[in-house]
């Protein structure tokens, strides 16, 4: 009985998860600078791609 319930639950959830989804893929997740002077501003650009099959929305970017 419990197995039947699980299968029924999976059947209900399947259509929800199988739909189109965006996917964020970064070229690199980390960056290490060479030795730099303290008078500069350090800058780095992280590249990424939407490798999914629906629109990707960047909701928030927060430094920590």
């Amino acid at each position: 009985m419990r197995h039947l319930l699980l299968i029924a639950l999976l059947l209900v959830l399947a259509p929800l998860t199988a739909g189109a989804a965006p996917a964020i893929r970064f070229d690199d997740l980390s960056y290490a600078s060479p030795v730099i002077s303290q008078t500069d501003m350090a800058e780095h650009t992280f590249g990424f791609v939407n490798s999914g099959d629906s629109e990707l929305v960047i909701e928030d970017i927060a430094p920590s």
Binding site: A23, Y31, H44, G47, V57, I58, E59, P63
Partner: protein, 153 residues
């Protein structure tokens, strides 16, 4: 800062991170968290590691340079005439503090013979120069003995 907050499938984007490192020295690590509607990975953490030197030290790499006229005011002369702990505090502690270099406690565990060799000859490919006169350093025999007595207690 992101190039655009909405991307079609296959489209590329950029996130530019700027860190104000003015007046900072040493190694600084910053992270940036990026939240998106990717159901598999709603949050991605990006990290930046920056090695920063001040104007006086940028581009100076060879350890024996600290014995030069330009550098010795801070790196050598403060220990002049001093012995043992006072010499250590004046000239060695600049590197051998709580930072990346070996601490006093760690050094005390080494045998006296290897400590002597390191103080005299330095360690290749590190910032530790050879400190005895033969290697261009400022320490005479008594100075070296006093450091060894301090370290191999």
């Amino acid at each position: 800062m992101a190039s655009s907050s909405r991307l079609k499938p296959g489209e590329r984007g950029r996130i530019k991170a700027t860190v104000d490192i003015r007046g900072r020295t040493g190694v600084i690590t910053k992270t940036v968290s990026v939240r998106s509607n990717d159901p598999e990975r709603p949050v991605t953490l990006l990290s930046l590691r920056m090695s920063i030197k001040d104007q006086t030290h940028i581009g100076r790499y060879h350890p024996t340079e600290i014995f030069s006229e330009r550098c010795r005011g801070c790196h050598v002369d403060r220990g002049k005439g001093k012995r043992g702990w006072n010499l250590f505090r004046a000239d060695c502690f600049i590197c051998h503090n709580a930072g990346a270099s070996t601490s006093l406690t760690q050094m005390s565990k080494k045998p006296r013979g290897s400590l002597e060799r390191i103080i005299r000859e330095g360690i290749e490919n590190t910032v530790m120069p050879g400190w005895d006169e033969k290697h261009g350093g400022p320490l005479d025999e008594t100075d070296i003995e006093s450091l060894l007595d301090l370290l191999s207690r």
